[in-house]
Amino acid sequence: MSVGLPVEHPAHAEVLTLYGPLLERLARSPGVDPRRSALVDEAGEVWSRPGFDTVLSESRLSFQPFDYQLATMQTVLRRMRGRAILADEVGLGKTIEAGLVLSELRMRGLADRALVVTPAGLVGQWREELERKFALPTTEAIRGEWDAGEDRPVVLASLAAARRDPLKSAVIGERWDVVIIDEAHRLRNPASASGRLARALRTRYLLLLTATPVENRLQDLYELVNLVAPGLLGTVAQFRSAHGTADTGVDALRNVAALRARTRQIMVRHRRSEVAVMLPQRLAETVLVTPCDAERALYTELTTRIRAEGRAATPSQRLTLRSLTRLAGSSPAAVAPTLRKVGWHDLAERAGAIARPRKIDELLARLRTHVERGEKVLVFTAFRHTLDALAAEVAAAGIPAACYHGSLSRRDKDTTVAAFSADIPVLLSTESAGEGRNLQFCHVMINMDLPWNPMQIEQRLGRLHRVGQEHDVLLANLVSRGTIEERILRVLESKINLFELVVGELDMILGRVTDDFDFESSVFTAYVAAEDDAAFAASLDDLGADLARARTDYLRTRGAVDQLVGED
């Protein structure tokens, strides 16, 4: 006889209550519908919010994160319960780690109200990363408002805007699920506007991103840790008595092991030497092009006039003059329309008369060489007029090229990149374009003009010099002799070795010059203020010295952080 429980065994009341409706339907049910089974399985997946030992968001990612990044996400969610300081060395992808945490929380319905506070220059980069890599919708908070659409976008705010009203009141008036603050070392001073903002934000999960959670003073670390885990390091008095006074440097602190043990409860730090992230080299070349007489005369006349006008100009006029200076450094075709707009028709005419600037000759020669070698080339310019002029010249030279710029529709952008990937050897592109596109199949870049903002140079490079790139990246900067760009490049190369920096280090250095350091604005101010070129050169030297100091300071800080939060 078959032995089981007897059929008349009274099923437990709880079981009948729970399963009764299913049993009733089973009695009526003719059979299992495989389509319904599949639908219910998928519904279960959508409904599930498993423990954090299961990663839900991986299927939504448009890239493959590194193992250490996934491990960080799990550590933050499981052990640190969503409040952490992500302190990886620069270039290891703190943004990716924060995005993974955010994405995972979103998938679980735990992060409908998410705020990312970041330096102004990085808002666009965050938007790009969150949307393209994590498929998370974003919206930018401007003047105290943001578009809280039905798709619950992640709100992006620049630190500069968020620490002032009206945006400040708006963001501290909201109860957030997640707040991510990039470059969080700027929050260390609790009395600063940024520090006060961070302490006023109300959120369940908090991620602070910084490669340098401590700089010179031990108190820096205390302040940051206290934001994430109030009380973890005790009261200020307890902390000082255990480890050192407010001004104790990291090299003189006491009980390092105990402090490390505490900070590791809320801090993750990876170093380049610990993780297997290898990027190819960057091989940069500055190509000084001697302009023709007409070009040189135009540039000299134009910049002299700009310097003269600039001293008495209103802020908006100065902005126009700065723009003119940059356009002049790009190409005569780029500067001519703006010259006409400001009424400098004589110069506009002279610019229009320059048929082909020397930089284009150089570009065409280089393109031919690369194309003959079967290499793809990405040519960058900051200006649409330069792009159009380039497109005409390149076409006339019989070199197949595609054009990419911000005015193209998304579909046209896709088509253009696909064509470049397939059989077009050259892509002529403006600054804003190319973001988030996979262009790693190309490893040659030519800058037709040089952005004055070094971060833009870095971003251009980042299009090719990224994970997945298998060749050394060749970069040629075409610069006309005697231009402001030539001087800028000299400063950036000689003082901070711009092109040899690791991805992300530039931002660390620029952020150390002054709180709101703006390289482009500093250069223009120095140019206008200088009596002559020699004085301008001296000012740029001073600026370069500031950058060099910032670089030294950054390298020293990196060592201090390792001492405090690195491995034993």
């Binding site: 006889m1 089981g4 089973l26 319960r81």
Partner: protein, 357 residues
């Protein structure tokens, strides 16, 4: 495509709506009732790409969107219930000699031997597949939802081993749907209790794992609260010892109320971290597995204990059996008085057999 959106499109199809790939996403035509339910227009284009949604004005639907959650909830409430009757084997039953060899091999009997005594009889052995969603509440702030599933042999109430489940899933070639005979439903009802116990045990185990992640926070919060109140009480005590009698009385009363407050606070913290789970079943399959019931005698010397085993071709094995005396899944043992198992017969060697061969 985002898995959430993929599910939603399938759900729309299931509800009688239409979906069709479009250039910028998927064109969807919703039945009016579903459009009202999801608060969406009857005709729309949806995507899971935020870039496409922003540039092309397409509706963004990704996991976490309320419309997807509502659809998932509706699909789960509808459940997945039914009977699967596996196709009967077309090959003839094994010979009696083969059946005897296999039963002796699979069920060694202490102090006894199994002899097949008659021709096998065709049967359908019921197996239950039960799926449930489990909500784990680890603390007042932490809640997880996971799925659990178990397959239970209704005859024995024992769970099936993974390899048997895999074989049954491969063998699922349902014949035309049949209504289950009443005895089968009754057996299913009883087996459900076993299934529920298995699910509940698994959920308890999982709950402990999930709670362990919160226990550090729990201990920390407790330690903070204790330190705070201990400090307050020490301060009150210090002041009381040097105070005059009226003031000392007042401070003593304050200390008493602080102790009460501490007890309340610690209780609150413990309640906040009280873990529990809730099971919500959504799947119930009754699978009828064709087989042969084999009559046997379990012999010890001249004593014979009649018994049966079910040979299931889909598993290539006999169904698991419980002890006829105590219901244990341990090895059978034949004593001079009765057939039992190594756990219920005195003097029998105690060793358990796996849940299934």
């Amino acid at each position: 495509m985002d898995p959430g959106l993929r599910f939603w499109l399938r759900y729309v199809d299931h509800c009688g709506g239409l979906t069709e790939p479009a250039t910028d996403g998927t064109l969807v035509v919703l039945p009016p009732s579903e459009a009202a339910e999801f608060d969406l227009p009857e005709e729309l284009v949806v995507t899971s790409d935020p870039d496409v949604a922003r540039e092309d004005g397409v509706v963004l639907l990704t996991t976490g969107h309320p419309a997807l959650i509502r659809a998932a909830d509706a699909a789960l409430t509808g459940g997945d219930i039914g009977i699967i009757s596996l196709t009967a084997p077309t090959t003839p039953a094994p010979t009696m000699a083969q059946l005897e060899d296999k039963v002796r091999e699979q069920f060694p009997v202490e102090h006894g031997r199994i002899d097949v005594t008659g021709l096998p009889v065709r049967i359908d052995r019921p197996v239950l597949r039960v799926g449930a969603l489990v909500t784990y509440t680890v603390s007042a702030e932490e809640c997880y939802q996971e799925r659990l599933e178990c397959w239970v042999d209704a005859g024995s109430g024992l769970p099936l081993a993974e390899h048997d489940i895999a074989r049954l899933q491969r063998a699922s070639q349902p014949e035309a749907p049949v209504a289950a005979p009443q005895p089968m439903l009754a057996a299913a009802t009883v087996a459900l209790e076993h299934a529920h116990r298995i699910l509940d045990t698994a959920a308890n185990r999982r709950q402990q794992i999930l709670s362990s992640q919160a226990s550090e926070a729990h201990q920390q919060e407790r330690a903070h609260a204790r330190a705070y109140y201990d400090d307050a009480l020490r301060s009150l005590e210090r002041r009381r010892t040097t105070a005059d009698s009226d003031r000392a009385e007042l401070l003593a009363a304050r200390a008493a109320s602080t102790r009460e407050e501490r007890a309340r606070r610690l209780l609150e913290i413990d309640e906040k971290y009280q873990a529990r789970h809730e099971i919500r079943p959504f799947r119930l399959h009754l699978m009828l597995v064709p087989g042969w019931r084999v009559p046997v005698d379990v012999r010890r010397g001249p004593r014979r204990y009649p018994f049966t085993f079910d040979w299931l071709p889909a598993l290539g094995a006999y169904a698991v059996q419980r002890c006829p005396h105590c219901g244990s899944a341990a090895s059978l043992s034949a004593s001079k008085a009765r057939l039992g198992c190594v756990t219920c017969l005195p003097g029998a060697a105690l060793h358990t057999v796996p849940a299934s061969p």
